[in-house]
């Protein structure tokens, strides 16, 4: 629901649910959540595309950049503390939220 409504994948709900309620390990939760995000984003994409809200070249450019980033990110992950990364990301999302509201 959040995924389709807000254009985010749903992993924020899926991963903690899987590790917390279903006792999956972090790695399996991550992998399984991606497998669920795949059909979610497919359905969401179809609905947005029928409204003419998908700019395909832009999506492909961001997708390609994102894959490259994800491969590098997965390797870099080991060098930083997860706790510190989450703090930085938390500050970043709060700053972006404020920018979006003020816009």
């Amino acid at each position: 629901m959040l995924a389709g409504f807000l254009g985010i994948g749903g992993g924020i709900i899926l991963v903690p649910m899987m590790t917390g309620l279903l006792c999956l390990s972090q790695h399996r939760a991550h992998g399984t959540s991606l497998a669920v995000i795949l059909p979610i984003s497919a359905v969401g994409t179809v609905v947005y595309a029928t409204r003419g809200d998908v700019d395909w070249p832009l999506a492909a450019t961001i997708g390609v950049g994102s894959i490259a980033g994800a491969i590098v990110g997965a390797r870099l992950m080991m060098r930083f503390s997860a706790h510190r990364l989450r703090q930085v990301f938390g500050l970043y999302t709060i700053a972006v939220a404020i920018l979006l509201i003020l816009r």
Partner: protein
């Protein structure tokens, strides 16, 4: 120029997604809205389409490493698909300004959760 900005948005989204197990949407949507001036609905549509590509690559890598619980994914997927379609349909009925506000409030909640519940070294992902 825009294509470089789009690549940079994708790279940042991917980097964070690889490092934190969070997805591209939370980075890509505000990136497009703030830097490229994309309309909120279009930004969300593009984020979902881009995610399709990223999730496919990510899921296949995890699948090969046997990190996908297929049975569980199949149990969760039908409900997730239904609600995703419903959410996408409802989003179409909302004015872009209001959709941006709701998105910003969701981001704020995510940020606060990340900041104050980041203990224990336990990852929590965002699609």
């Amino acid at each position: 120029m825009d294509i470089l900005v789009a690549l940079a948005i994708g790279l940042t989204a991917g980097l964070l997604s690889g490092m934190l197990g969070i997805g591209g949407g939370t980075v890509a949507v505000p990136g497009m809205v703030l830097l490229l001036g994309t309309d909120q609905h279009a930004a969300q549509g593009v984020a979902l389409a881009a995610m399709l590509l990223t999730a496919f690559v990510g899921a296949s890598i995890h699948y090969r490493q046997k990190n996908v619980n297929l049975r569980m994914a199949m149990w969760i997927a039908p409900a997730a698909i239904g609600f995703s379609a419903l959410g996408a349909w409802v989003a179409g009925l909302v004015e872009p300004e209001w959709l941006t506000r709701v998105f910003a409030i969701a981001l704020l909640a995510i940020g606060i959760r990340m900041l104050f519940f980041a203990r224990g070294g336990k990852f929590v992902g965002i699609g």
